[in-house]
């Protein structure tokens, strides 16, 4: 049946009509065999303008409309709603952009009018072959998943749970807390990090809506927004937390000592251990990688000594499947690998530390109970060199980006060092100081002025050990001279990297990463917490280096985005999705290869579209050699006709 299309040409005051003969455009289109009505009006988007469209649709029994006006980005929704109100399907309304792409960029009225005709004609050809479509409705599993139990993950989980939704929080290590729990005090207020974090950790563990899975890893996520399925591997801890009384007997008998991750190797721990006293969940974990064996013959000392019989060698890895509606990814960061920083003696000399190690030295719960002592000889260091931008802002050799927090924490480190060792001297090598943030600049100034820190603008060329001292060769570019410092200790502000394994994990989840390996957000400005995969959000340093308040703010943002999904009974998805012509499909699977959303699969040797996942990009359509797949309402036959119209007679 022949379509009855209406064409409505907007003057947009003189914005369009000043350059385009709008009446002429309307008249020309009236000659089209499918156009049943055409007219022009001064402001189509105004109330009277919309009324005019509605009335014309009814009066001329139109089944489709083209509005020749501004960019579809502005008023497509307006006019589609207007068409809907007049009783025709919203997808029978298309916009011909004759303002941004025509009247505003041209001067010659005759030529601009000709072009406007072509654009409008092309849009008519498209709408003539448009199908009436209904948005695809998707049911929602009203449950969230947060991956990563650092501050960002904790905050996101709490926000979601406090909104009334069940949340599964998955953390790969035995306790939640992330890197924040390792910190001593936080800039710029010098709050004790543990003191402000542990209440939140406890809240997580006690929250009736939060299901906490520690020592667990998400292995697979399938499904789509509102309907994800997560496969989670819960590794065995070999300790039953309900029975364990935290009596420490097992630790005493365990013969194996390994470096303690929590103290970054500054201390040791046993093969059976609790990561730190405030760990949540508060229980022991038997580290199977370092335990001599789970057989009583091999060792079995811990089991023998455990009175409550909490230790169970027969515990097996468990696969937990969870159905969820939306996901927050907060996989955090790690420090730049020691391997990459050999020139600074990092990993080679005991007294060359990274920032986190220094945090542990400063921490009251740390290996030295808050005393700043050299790891090599436990002497108080009198001269400490702090080096910023270690691995950051070095596109040739290391990471091109700025790790953002190092300026601040180095100032904090140096300041705290001075508080511990008032007669000590702190030198800071820096490129420049980036102290954007509330009270940050004041903090740095205070450190400089009150604590007498020596800031040296320049890079360090070499670090070596000599006579029990760490010699630092550097340059002071402001003074224009080379500097040699015989320090007792060197602290490197190493770059922040995406957490180890994040890349692999992202691959599994098919999330794209940016060039540095951080999670790639959907839009750098307007969708900073969204991933391109609908229903998947980011929080914390997994997306980019950030400090605690930023991570917390982003976590709340991500949580609220996740809640938007969970709060709905069903979601609606654009119906402009791919459609397979089964009679043409030969099942080669090329479309499956190119689909960025995994919306295509092969079933009985034919491609099948999961409409809910499809975003309608059409790459499949251009890839298909058999022309067996197309995107609804922007099909090859439509483009074919549009080319015709665009070239003109």
């Amino acid at each position: 049946m022949k379509k009855r299309t209406g064409v409505f040409v907007c003057h947009c005051g003189i914005n369009i009509a000043g350059t385009v003969d709008v009446k002429n455009v309307a008249e020309e289109l009236m000659k089209h065999s499918n156009v049943a009505h055409s007219e022009d009006y001064v402001y189509m988007c105004s109330d009277p303008g919309q009324k005019l469209i509605e009335n014309s649709i009814k009066e001329h029994s139109l089944d489709s409309v083209v509005i020749a006006c501004c960019s579809p980005n502005l008023h497509e929704t307006t006019f589609r709603n207007c068409a809907k109100a007049a009783g025709i399907n919203e997808f029978q309304c298309e916009i011909a952009n004759i303002r941004e792409q025509c009247s505003w960029v041209h001067k010659d009225k005759l030529k601009a009018t000709e072009k406007a005709k072509k654009i409008t004609h092309s849009t008519v050809e498209r709408v003539v072959k448009n199908k009436s479509l209904e948005p695809i409705s998707i049911p929602v599993t009203r449950r969230g998943l947060v991956i990563g139990g650092g501050i960002a993950g904790i905050q996101a989980a709490l926000d979601m749970a406090n909104s009334g939704y069940e949340v599964v929080l998955v953390e790969k290590s035995p306790s939640i807390g992330g890197h924040m729990i390792q910190l001593s005090e936080t800039f710029p207020t010098l709050d004790c990090s543990q003191c402000i974090l542990t209440p939140k950790m406890v809240e997580v563990s006690k929250h009736p809506k939060i299901k906490l899975l520690t020592y667990s890893e998400v292995q697979e996520i399938t499904g789509y927004v509102g309907n994800f399925k997560a496969k989670i591997l819960k590794k065995p801890t070999y300790v039953d937390p309900t029975k364990c009384t935290l009596c420490d007997e097992c630790i005493d008998v365990c013969p194996i000592v390994v470096p303690n991750e929590f103290d970054l190797g500054l201390t040791g721990r046993k093969a059976i251990y609790i990561p730190f006293p405030q760990a949540i969940p508060a229980t022991f974990t038997l580290d199977i990688a370092n335990c001599p064996g789970l057989l009583p013959i091999a060792c079995g000392k811990c089991m023998d000594v455990c009175e409550p019989e909490a230790i169970n060698y027969d515990m097996k890895p468990e696969i937990i499947e969870e159905e969820i509606g939306s996901i927050v990814l907060a996989t955090g960061y790690d420090l730049y690998d020691k391997e990459n920083m050999k020139e600074y003696g990092y990993g080679k000399y005991a007294d060359v530390l990274d920032g986190l190690q220094f945090e542990r030295l400063l921490s009251a719960s740390g290996p030295t109970m808050g005393e700043v002592l050299r790891p090599s000889d436990h002497k108080v260091p009198k001269e400490v060199v702090f080096i910023q931008c270690v691995g950051s802002r070095d596109p040739e050799l290391h990471c091109a980006y700025c790790s953002k927090i190092c300026c601040m924490y180095t100032a904090k480190h140096a300041m705290l060092y001075k508080h511990h060792v008032p007669d000590g001297q702190a030198y800071i090598f820096y490129i420049d100081i980036r102290s954007g943030g509330k009270d940050y600049e004041e903090f740095v100034q205070r450190a400089k002025e009150e604590d007498g820190l020596v800031y040296l603008r320049g890079k360090v060329s070499k670090i070596f050990e000599e006579n029990g001292k760490i010699t630092v060769w550097g340059a002071d570019t402001l003074a224009g001279k080379d500097i040699e410092i015989n320090a007792d200790m060197v602290v490197l502000a190493t770059a922040m990297r995406p957490a180890k394994g994040a890349e692999e994990f992202a691959k599994k989840l098919k999330i794209s990463l940016d060039k540095d390996g951080f999670l790639s957000e959907a839009h750098p400005k307007l969708k900073p917490v969204e991933s391109v995969t609908s229903g998947l959000f980011f929080a914390g340093a997994a997306q980019a280096p950030k400090d605690i308040p930023e991570a917390v703010a982003q976590a709340s943002g991500a949580a609220s985005k996740a809640i938007i999904i969970l709060s709905q009974d069903q979601l609606f998805h654009s119906p402009m999705v791919a459609k397979v012509s089964l009679n043409l499909c030969t099942g080669c699977g090329m479309c499956v290869d190119v689909c960025p959303y995994d919306s295509l699969s092969l079933k009985d040797n034919k491609a099948e579209v999961n409409e809910v996942l499809c975003e309608g990009c059409g790459t499949c359509s251009a890839t298909c050699l058999r022309a067996a797949i197309e995107v609804k309402n922007i099909t090859p036959v439509q483009i074919y006709e549009m080319i015709d119209a665009s070239v003109g007679g």
């Binding site: 041209h106 654009i119 251009a622 080319i643």
Partner: protein
């Protein structure tokens, strides 16, 4: 005097970057010649070589395919597939003797109204001396 030859250009613009970039050129009231008629597609990855050949057959003097910069694709990777496909088309049509100036691909982001304007200006300038594209054009 004979009227100056005005080339007809068909531009396949991806909705999210290049079409938005061309919108920005409009919003900024930049000026470029009216020889180009845009066809907005969802992604440069959806531009089939058939569209390009067809535009030439139907009498286009020049064809432009424009998408998001690598890494910026709204659909993550569509423009990478486009880049491969279009490279093949470009090599092929040059090989059969069509003037290479007649077919262009560009990356234009939503912020690059200026770049879009320049591309069209240059394209029109390059096409004018070539005259009408008759090689692949259908007889009317």
């Amino acid at each position: 005097m004979a009227e100056e030859f005005e080339p007809k250009i068909i531009a396949f613009l991806c909705k999210w970057c290049s079409s938005a970039g061309s919108d920005l050129a409009g919003v900024s009231r930049m000026k470029y010649p009216p020889n180009v008629v845009p066809i907005t597609v969802m992604c440069s990855g959806s531009v089939s070589p058939l569209y390009i050949f067809n535009a030439f057959q139907k009498g286009a003097d020049g064809v432009l395919v424009s998408g998001c910069h690598p890494g910026d694709c709204h659909y993550i990777q569509g423009n990478f597939y486009a880049r491969r496909r279009i490279a093949l088309v470009k090599e092929l049509i040059e090989y059969i003797g069509l003037e290479p100036q007649r077919f262009k691909m560009s990356w234009v982001s939503a912020a690059e109204g200026k770049k879009y304007t320049q591309i069209i200006q240059e394209f029109v300038q390059e096409l004018k001396p070539l005259g009408p594209q008759k090689k692949l054009r259908r007889e009317k």
